[in-house]
Structure formats: structure tokens, C-alpha cells
Amino acid sequence: MSMNKDRLPGARVDTSSPVSFFFDGKPYRGYAGDTLASALLANGVRVLGRGFKLHRPRGLMAAGKEEPNALVQLEEGAFTEPNVRATLQPLYQGLRARGQNAWPSVGFDLFGILGLFKPLFPASFYYKTMMWPSWHWYEWAVRRLAGLGKAPRERDPQHYHRQNLHCDLLIVGAGPAGLAATLQAAPSGKRIVLIDEQEEPGGSLLAERESIDGKPAIEWVSATLATLASHANVQILRRTTVTGYYDHDVLAAVERVTTHMGPSAPAHLPRERWWRIRARQVVLATGAMERPLVFPCNDRPGVMLASAVRHYLNRYGVAAGRRTAVFTCNDSAYLTAIDLAERGFSVAAVVDTREGGAGELGDRVRALGIPVHAGHRVLGTRGRKGLRSVRIAPHAGGSESSIACDVLAVSGGWSPVVHLFSQSGGSLRFDETLQAFVPGMSVQQVRAAGAAAGLLDLRGALNGGAEAAVSALHAMGIDAASALAQPAVSVPAAKALEPFWFTPGVPPEYQWLDFQYDVTVADIALAARENFVSVEHVKRYTTNGMSVDQGKTSNVNALAVLADRTSRAIPEVGTTRFRPPYHPVTLGTIAGRGIGDRYAPRLESPIHERHLELGAEMDDYGGWQRPACYLKPGEDEHQATRREMHAVRNGLALFDGSPLGKIEVRGPDAAEFLERVYINSIRNLAPGRARYGLMLNELGIVIDDGVLVRLADDHFLVHTTSGGAGRIFLMLEEWLQCEWTTLRVRCTNVTTQWATVTLSGRGARDLLAPMIQGIDFSRDAFPHMHFRTGSFGGAPVRVLRASFTGEGSYEISVPANRGLALWDAVYAAGEARGIAAFGLEALLMLRVEKGYLHVGADTDGTTNPLDLGWGPVIAKKQSDFIGRRSLSQPEAVREGRFRFCGIEPLDPSKALPIGAHVLDSLPDGRRRSGGYVTSSCFSPTLGCWIGLGIVRDGPDRDGETVTVAGNGIEMQARLRGTVYLDPEGERLHA
């Protein structure tokens, strides 16, 4: 039942616009301007969540992003979003939310019984109790019992944007300090961006009953916004959270564009926008967060931050309860008692841990007739699903008393929001007065202002904001400005905070620090007993601060407890590192529009459209869209590939090799350069000749192979594997620019400038001769591994006799814009002779029949050329080349390396699974991997399954029978040479 018949006057909600919504299936009503949290509070819903481990009922604690308990699952299906803070979610018509980690609901959770077994679940209980026989026995159940929201399972129908922003001055936070800073800087004409994460600017002024120049502070906010609106150089981003501060003053921010509209938002709007901001100067006016106090059963629904109680009262016109008590160690919480009492709500008492009580505000509280218990502590709370009473006692001992209340407003002091400052690389300093970390030295162009800098009162915020703006302008060379005179505010004289980090003398097991991950004082004490010293280790061991709030309410309290238990001062313990993101960011926002077809550019051959007409099944090969095979009516991919393989071995066959990497290397020192790049000799290659070569990295590992052509004395054409051209080109440039800087060589990647069509089979030369001018195609005039240039219809043409199929082939290259014409001409001329186009799948199997290496498939990150049988070639070369010295290191020449060999199943009708391991038997009967199958296919020409692999000393074990295991099966296979077909190479020279 609603305890608020209506809202208090002055609330920033529109009571003429009711909004209906559902929580855990039940209908409720709120108003435009509400958050889900304020509306639920107004409706008297007390239990909004359940503890992570023990499923204890949890209620609203805060009013901002630090809320640890009221995390809900928003909406359903594809739109759903887990872990939404009810405190940040604006209410919209028809909103549906559910509590998390509970069944059937957070109000009545059957797993709540776990709470009875609290002593069984200390920190680290997983590691200690679920080890035997294996964590995996327990994982299934634990994953269901512990956890937060559920990730959506359907594709996200929303879209997201990314946007860049450059500005002179970025101001983060539109509270009093941020607004004062913007007001100060606006007349400079500099490009200023003010970012605020709330539904409306104003920050703490929206929630406090303060006055500026004798008028309600909110009027100053409106006037300031009106002034700023007249400055075209000022841009304000609302509903935007700055989530990270990176190097060189780059900040990331998430704008929630339609979060306040829900699923019915206009489709053209993105759900969120990810801003990447480059600022010359930054002012952080991010405010401060109130810390909870730590005492027995402080997790009971109804225990709230004192500032949050004021926030709901003053901003939303909602009293959190009927009768409130205040528990504090500083003056600020007295405002909660005053604001409630002056609005006519019952305040049971103020319990102050300080013997001396408060300053001016204390007098005002007493004048309102509210009893103040100075020098007292709370020993416990009562109430099954919500607070009914608290038990207090003086520190010195003596009689306990009970206070009936349904809300306990607590304040353990304030922690400046230093997250972004720390992320920027700035150091933090522990302030003894505030008992909190505040910004110290900055290393980037950033300064904190107002509460973020530790100046918690309104005067400090306004002055600090203006001064920070002056300092930022000064850094940009604008010196004339001096800080504007700030309006008059009254700041009550306060007494100093006295730290009260936890409640001594009572059991620590029920004194919660981290409400999201259920970490208590006892858990930190356990870690200290077990000799954990580093705060980073304690964090991971206890999980304190590791949940989605990243310890916003728990960190300082937890390290104070650790300091106490390890007899150190808090600054000595230090704080865990603040890392981005400050607030969780959805993956969709980070991805933006770079998904699906927009994830990466697609490379297409100039002949692409013809492949599609021929029925090609296209696939991605190294970034290129290439035909896997060409489907004829009624064929599946296997049948098509076998038909194509048969055509290559027995007839005319055509292949689009355009993606083949082509790099031109030119200059007086080109031969010398390539001599240092390839492991084989290059200098003695004659112009017009081609040679197959391997390239290594400095570790001696094979990184690429291909055919090298010498076009002229000072001009080479380096062919790389398809998809490898960009990488190899950059590597060649790196060596030229960084190591061999005196070599006169230029490299040009011409891969996409040439289209390449490969023709093989009987009659190929007769077909090409009339089509290409200037080349003698006769067998003796143009042998295998030779290169010729001519013309095709007036365009230059380059023809290379090289082969990756084992058939005599012509690789014919023309300028890319003539590629389609060349393909069509060859195809038309060959049609009468049954020419067949073949795709990548056929090519990659044909090369297995020949035992041709496929770098990256038949090699891995350990394969050197000695493993491939290239030792004799290297031995003949005298000079150094990239990676050569690594080949004489002990590791490269030891016995037992995985080396390239053939491997065929004993039963030729059985396929060897690619990746299956060749098993070694050890003397003790155990088995280990002795290499693996790297290529396996059915050869229609040979009528059997064949394979290649890298196997321990494979080439030395020719004919040996081995056991191969993979895909859950074991089979027998025989090691052999790599060449299955035409070992003499007669087909190549045909």
C-alpha cells in the first residue's frame, strides 16, 4: 500500500502525468520525472533485490549510481537489460522490471533459506570446500544460486552510435561546481562541453534544500542554464556518464539516448551513444558519495544513506518511511532529520557516534524536539522484510535501548568521486579531516573541483568550480580571467567527522561492507588472519568491490577494516586501482555500428560478379570473398568440389587467383635485399625466371611462402600467400626503414592492381596463344617456372608458369579493370572443350595430393624450415637472412621436433580428422601428443583418403604405423612422404 497519498509540494515530478509500470508482475503508478526507485519507494515496495550469496532481502540504499541493491532486469526478450540501477532508470509508460537473483520473486524468495546457513559461507568458501572432486561438480548449482541479472539471449534489435567530440574544455558533472565552472568559462569563447549523467542538470542542488542568494538553489540552476544557453560555444550533454579517462586527455562517455523512453522509442534513435572525447583541458566536478556505516544487520531493507533519504524527500516528494532514525559520525546527516521534521515527518532520534555530537545543525535538530544520542552506536536491527527497530547503546557501555523506526538514515562520511582522476594517472592523497581519498598530483590536463576535490560544502563547490575554470583557461593561455564573485550561501559551522569504520565488540559476521557480493567485516578479518596484506589481494580473495558497482559504497570502509586488522594506517594500506569503466557499459554501445557487414571491409575480386553467375558458393578466405566451389544444379558442396578436382586433373580448368599477394621490389639493391629476406638464394636467379621461396621471422619460424619472379636485374615480383600481402609488405618495409636503411630499394604492394586468372590442362597453351600477343607459348620456349610479358587487347599482361595444383598452369595477370574481360575470353574459348571453373576447396585438396605446403595450415608457430626439409637448401647459402641465426640455436636443431610428413589412414576409406593427435607411447604406459594431422582430404584421383601432418621426427619414421586420436575416435595410420601424386612432376611440365 502506498504510504504517500500524493507527493510533497515542490517535488520535481509532474503529478498531472501519471505513469503506470510493473515490478515483478504487479502494476504500480508513478509520475513523469520519477525514477523506477523513487516510484517504488512511493508505492511502499521495500524489497527490491536479494543478496548475491545468501539471498537476504535487500532494499533501496542510495539514490544514484552507487546503489548496490536495487538492481533490476529491465523489460524482457531481446530488449532486456540486466543489472539496471532502479535509481538511474527514468520511469516511462508501461515499464516492466523484475528483481534479480530470486525465485519466484524478490519479495518471496525460496532461496532465502540460505540466509540461515551464513556461517557456512565465509570468503573463499568456493576455493576451500568445492575442490573435491572438482569445481565442475558444483558449478551448475552455484551458477543458479548466485548471480545477478541474465544476459539477453536474442539478437539486440536496437542500434547504437559512436561519435567523436573535440573540445577545449570538458567539464564533467553539472552540480554546483560544474555549473560554476561552465559559467566562468563560457565568455572565453572556447569550445566548452558540460556533461551530466542525470535527467536534468543541478546535481546535489536537485536534492538539497539549500539557498543561493537567499533564493532556493534550484532557481540559481535555472538562471545559470538560461545564461549558458545564450553561449553558442557551450554544449551540454545530458543523460551521459563519463566512463573512462584515458591517455592524452581522451575520455569516453555513454549517452543514454532513449533509456527514458523504453522499447517504444522512435526507431531512428540509437539506444545509446558512445562518445570519444578529446579535450584540451578537463574539470572533474563529479561530486562525492556518502558512505554507509557498518554495524550488525546493516543490510536490512530500510537502512538507507542519509543523503538518499533527503534526495527522495526533496526531489521526488517521497518520504522513505513513517518514522526515521538517523545514525551518523558527521554533521551532514543531521540535515536529513531537519528536512524530514520540517516537512512534518516523524524523526525518532539522531544517534551520533561522536561524544561531542554536531555543531550548528545539532542545535537545530534539538530545537525541533528530536532526541540526540551522542556517543552511541547501533548494536543491531530488527524486522523480517524491513526495518522495525534498532538497538543502541553508549560506547562506554551501559544500558541498551531500542528505537522503533522503519528507516535508519546512515552516514559514514563522504568519499569524493576520484575515479576519473585516478584513471587519468593522477595520484590520490588520504585526507585526515574527511577520512577519504582526494585528488593529489595530476599528470594530465585535469583538475578536480568542488566535492570531487574534497570541498564538500556549497561555498567550496561554487568557488572551487570557478577557480578550476580559471586554471583551465590559464593553461590555454587565457590569463585575463579572474574568478567571478560567487553568490552568497550560508554554510553551517560543523564539527569534524570522527571515523567509525565498523562496530567493535559485536560479531562481525553480520556487518556488511559490500552489499552486492555479500562481503562482511568477518570476511576481511579472515583474509587478514590468513596473512593477506595487499589490498589488491584482499579484494580478489573476498570479492569486496568486485561486483558491478566496483565497490562504490564499500571500498573505503573495507580498507579501513583491513587497516585496523593489520594494524596499519589507511594510507599505508592504500586503495585498489580505479579502472575504467566507472559505470558498466553495454557491449552493444562499444561495438556501435561496426557489426555484421560493417565489421570489416570485404575484399572482392574484379571477377566477383561472374563467380556468382556461375553458381559460386562464396566464403571468406583471408579477408577476401572467394568461391569455395561452383554449384551445378543438384550438387552439394562435396560433389561440386570432387567434380572440380576431377576436371583439373583431366581437362581444362580455370581459377581466379586475383587475391594472390603481389609486391614489386625495385632498386639497385633489390637483389641484395631479397637475398636477406628469403632463405634460398636469389642473386643467381636470371631475369624471366621464377623460384619458390620461404620467408622466416627472426625467431626462425616460417611466416610465408610463394613464388618470386625476377623481372629485370633491379626489379622483382614477390608473390605472397593470398591474404598475406599486406602483412608481408609491412614487414619488408620495416626491415628497409628500420634495419637496412642504406639499401636503395622501393616496395609497392600491387596485389589489387592486377587480376589473375589461372588456366591449366591439356590445350591451355593453344587456347592462350591467339588471345595474348607477344608471348611464345610453345613448350620449349616457355617452360615451368618461367615468366613472360605480352599484351591482351592492348593491355599489359604478365604470365607466370607456376602451379599450386600440380598441373602445368599459366597464371595470367592483367590490370584489374581487364580481369573480367580476360576471364570471359578464356572461358568462352574453352567452353567447347568443357572448361570448368574451380574454387578454393578443390585447390586446397589438389595441393594436398602434391604435398604442397600451406603455410599456417601445415605449419604452426613453432615450425622452422628444417622441419620442412629445407636444411640442404639453407646449407648451400652462405649469407645471412632473416631468422638464420635462430636456426642454429639448440631448440631449432634438437631431436624430437614436429616435422612435416605425409600420414595416411590404414583403412583408406576412413578420414583422418584434421587436428587429430599422433600419439606417442611413453615407457610408463601413458601417452602424449607426438604431433598432429594438419591436412586431410579425399583424393578422387587416388580413390582414398590422404593426409599431411607435423609429427615428431616424422620424416625419419617412413612407413611406421601410428595411432591417431581425435574427435573421440582412435585409428591407425601410416607415416610416409608428403607427395601422393606425380612425384616426378611430369604433369607440371606437360
Binding site: 584515458y246 628500420c738 634495419e739
Partner: protein, 94 residues
């Protein structure tokens, strides 16, 4: 996200560049010891303070250059050519 002054193209964002790691490493000849070769391949300094490293403007002029960077503040102290000597550097803030 560093901003780097490419000697050829001017100031650009870090994501146009690739870092090639420590610069000024001497490549030993074939007659070096196994240990020397191992150091050349794998031993790198990991300074707190000034780091001399080489970068390539991959999505620009594709040229390599040297850069002195303070690993604490990420301030770039100098940009200089691949064959240039290390210039005099302002004090690193570390």
C-alpha cells in the same frame, strides 16, 4: 589514446599507428653467441620513465620513426627519425 606527431603527416590519434617496441636494438651478426642472439630476440627493458620506441604511421604515410615516451605520464618527449641519434630530452615525470 595517445596523440602522436607523425614527422610527415602531423598530429594524429594513436589508432592510426602501430608500436614496434623498443628502438635502437643492435642486430648481432651470425657469429654471435646463442645467449647474445637470445637477448636480441627477447630481452627488452621495461622502463618506468623514458622509453625509446619505434612507431609506424600505418594508416597514414606508413613510415617508421622513433619516439621518446614517458611511461608514467604517457607524455611524448620527442619524435625523431629512424637513423637520428637520441635527442636531448626534457625531464621525465616519474
Amino acid at each position: 589514446m595517445l596523440q602522436i606527431d607523425c614527422p610527415w603527416c602531423g598530429r594524429r590519434d594513436e589508432d592510426e599507428f602501430n608500436c614496434g617496441g623498443q628502438s635502437h636494438i643492435q642486430r648481432p651478426g651470425l657469429d654471435c653467441s646463442d645467449a647474445e642472439w637470445g637477448d636480441y630476440l627477447f630481452a627488452r627493458i621495461n622502463p618506468k620513465g623514458v622509453s625509446l620506441e619505434r612507431w609506424r604511421h600505418t594508416h597514414g604515410c606508413r613510415q617508421w620513426f622513433n619516439l621518446a615516451r614517458d611511461t608514467v605520464s604517457h607524455r611524448i618527449l620527442a619524435v625523431y627519425g629512424m637513423t637520428d641519434p637520441v635527442p636531448a630530452l626534457p625531464e621525465a615525470r616519474s
